[in-house]
């Protein structure tokens, strides 16, 4: 029994890589105006960390060749025929996404708190009364809210500095205890390196956080906009 592991969707292409993950064959499955690129496997392998990054490398190659829509890692398909049907069923949505993302790249910014709140700081000892608990939580919530405000302000500042279009940026403030801000910027392929350099300078100037700028990568974070029509 063979299965297909999907990597990316592109417009119809006349050529491209022929080797997928772990040296296995890479299938180029035509469906209407689009191609789906997938590795053909025997049986049901357990995917490894190396596979995830090989998937990334493959998408990067496809992105370099033209507009490319990354598929979520771990998307298994039964066979060519069902892959074709899935693509044709939502042809317009996928084609629009491929065209909108075009040959854009993603630049990622992560800001870490230099003074990350310690787990003990949340105070989980039993409070002496219900009222004392609420008063304690009020104080703790004020700290959390303040951090979130700072994070949102950092986001607004970076967005202004890096002069990006509202539609081409995603962010999450305080996604976890140690991370102040997680931000993704979409840039034209030929402008992505320059954006990364500007972002590195901007991030280095911010006090109280450690900033890491990554990419340019295929535009993984910008495929989610497609999903808001609720699917099935």
């Amino acid at each position: 029994m063979t299965r297909l592991l999907a990597h990316a969707i592109t417009r119809r292409a006349t050529g491209g890589p022929s080797t997928g993950l772990r040296g296995r064959p890479l299938e180029q499955i035509a469906a209407g105006e689009l191609d789906l690129w997938a590795t053909r496997w025997d049986g049901e392998p357990t995917l490894s960390r190396d596979d995830a990054f090989a998937h990334h490398d493959l998408i990067a190659v496809l992105c370099d060749a033209g507009p490319c829509l990354p598929v979520r890692f771990g998307t298994w398909l039964n066979d060519e025929a069902s892959a074709r049907r899935s693509l044709e069923a939502e042809q317009d949505r996928f084609a629009a996404a491929v065209d909108r993302l075009g040959d854009r790249r993603e630049v990622a910014i992560t800001l870490l708190w230099l003074d990350a709140p310690s787990p003990e700081g949340r105070g989980h000892a039993v409070a002496p009364s219900g009222r004392a608990f609420l008063e304690r939580q009020r104080a703790l919530n004020a700290v959390t809210d303040e951090r979130r405000s700072v994070a949102e302000a950092l986001f607004e500042g970076l967005r202004r500095d890096l002069a990006v279009d509202q539609a081409d940026v995603r962010h999450e403030s305080c996604p976890s205890a140690e991370v102040a801000l997680s931000m993704s910027l979409l840039a034209r392929r030929d402008a992505a390196d320059a954006l990364k350099a500007r972002a590195t300078v901007a991030v280095g100037a911010i006090e109280g956080v450690r900033g890491v700028v990554s990419g340019p990568w295929p535009p993984y974070s910008f495929t989610a906009d497609l999903e808001t029509d609720g699917g099935g």
Binding site: T46, L47, S48, R49, A52, R72, G74, T110, P119, R122, H124, V126, A127, S129, G130, R131, A132, F133, L134, Q137, R138, N141, D145, R148, S149, E172, S173, C174, P175, S176, A177, E178, V179, S182
Partner: protein
């Protein structure tokens, strides 16, 4: 025994919190994935209720007795959520859907 991708997902909890974008349907992961979803939702609701209670306490619209009862109930609920999270191998501090903009408006 957890596979590499499962291990990677757990490492990522420190970057983006506990709520996964998807729950693997493989039998070994599904229990913990569902636990994360349920506990994150419960904690989210608990925080909403807690903020409401604090606002009403500050606004003087709760009696002393109500403050005490609500406070104790929310405290016990928080402890229970933490206990359940730990039982599923989750870090309770990362059960963070985050109130986001909603938090500021409440």
């Amino acid at each position: 025994m957890e596979d590499e991708i499962g291990t990677l997902r757990r490492e990522l909890e420190r970057v983006r919190g506990v709520l996964p974008d998807r729950v693997d349907v493989d039998p070994e992961g599904v229990e913990q994935g569902l636990a994360k979803l349920v506990l994150t939702l419960v904690e989210f609701l608990r925080q909403l209720l807690e903020r409401q209670a604090i606002r009403r306490m500050d606004g003087g619209t709760l009696t002393d007795d109500e403050i005490e009862r609500v406070g104790l109930a929310l405290m016990r609920l928080e402890a229970k959520v933490r206990e359940l999270a730990e039982a599923f191998g989750l870090d309770p501090d990362d059960l963070n859907l985050g109130l986001g903009p909603i938090g500021k408006l409440l």
